[in-house]
Amino acid sequence: MAHPTQLGFQDAASPVMEELLHFHDHALMIVLLISTLVLYIITAMVSTKLTNKYILDSQEIEIVWTILPAVILVLIALPSLRILYLMDEINDPHLTIKAMGHQWYWSYEYTDYENLGFDSYMIPTQDLTPGQFRLLETDHRMVVPMESPVRVLVSAEDVLHSWAVPSLGVKMDAVPGRLNQTAFIASRPGVFYGQCSEICGANHSFMPIVVEAVPLEHFENWSSLMLEDA
């Protein structure tokens, strides 16, 4: 989760998110360079003492400021497309989980081996134990084994929702009547928070997502316990 006043991305918890962070650094640097250049040019033009400002033509600079932006765009496009295709690679998941969006909670179904299903409601502010995160905690977390490719099939039971976990670099719209697939690998154990990312009614801001990545044995223990409780 983000600490208060955090502006930048959260640390990556999956390889794809690491790639996205690096790409963002690259693109932002280009943007900052161009913005600085433009700001400098604006100040130079505003503060000049020269009176003849209306040059009619100049072939050389026109060529430069056509070719250079094209080159810059290619330099942005190549890493971007690389990551796009990376995200779509065949990933042979170890586990498939269905995340279904409802008004206003998520439900998760682990049906590879047994039939495990449960709802995940936000813990209301008045029920939080001291130190818990307001509007982010849920009663049941989506537990996954760490360092394993996990496939998430996202859909919705009523209106549009979106299943998003920023530190895993995952966001997938939950469309009623449609099954969307996304995947991630949690590179480290931890608890990763996200929030519903498609407006879905009054409590759209109050249906968070919590993914807990644990070692495999812990995952197996957890799923046995959950099946007993069900």
């Binding site: 600490h3 640390d11 003849n52 209306y54």
Partner: protein
């Protein structure tokens, strides 16, 4: 040339703003903008005083008095026979303002900055009133104690341990790095 003197957007409700937006030929007589008062006929060569376009399409004085005409005749001869006053008069026939007059500061910036600070101040008052009369009380999670427990919990669960918050905590010494 037509100059918009609408000044600040917030002046939309002021006479200045309304007049400037409704008719581009109205000149508010302030900060040196009170000269021209009628619509320019763009189908004939115009005169202008502009720093960036130095040579207007026509001289300032179209119709010359008899004295001006005789001066123009004298201008056709050698120029060092012209006195300083005659040279200045010739300049004033062709041009309205000198460069020094065109570049003269108007002090308009003081009005603009004054308006900006005034409206920022007013907005500040509105914000203070809102905070006191409109906003609900803070949730208990924003208390100092809760925030401290929250940070401790984030450190315990190793939130952002690579470059983020947990990376800045020294777990051995139990303090920030």
């Amino acid at each position: 040339m037509l100059h918009l003197t609408a000044g600040r957007v917030a002046g939309l409700f002021s006479r200045r703003g309304v007049a400037a937006l409704s008719s581009s030929s109205v000149k508010m007589a302030s900060h040196g903008h009170g000269g021209v008062t009628e619509q320019a006929d763009m189908s004939v060569p115009l005169y202008w005083d502009r720093l960036d376009t130095p040579l207007p399409d026509r001289p300032y004085k179209d119709t010359l008095s008899a004295a001006d005409k005789s001066l123009k005749q004298k201008e056709k001869g050698p120029w060092n026979s012209l006195s300083k006053e005659e040279k200045l008069a010739l300049y004033r026939i062709t041009f309205n303002e000198t460069y020094a007059e065109m570049k003269k500061p108007t002090g308009e910036w003081k009005t603009v900055m004054g308006g900006i600070f005034f409206f920022i101040g007013f907005t500040g008052l509105v914000v203070l009133w809102q905070r006191y009369y409109v906003y609900p009380p803070h949730p208990r999670t924003l208390d100092e104690e809760w925030q401290a427990m929250q940070v401790q919990r984030m450190l315990d669960m190793r939130v952002s341990p690579i470059e983020g918050i947990s990376a800045k905590w020294d777990y051995e010494k139990g303090q920030w790095k």
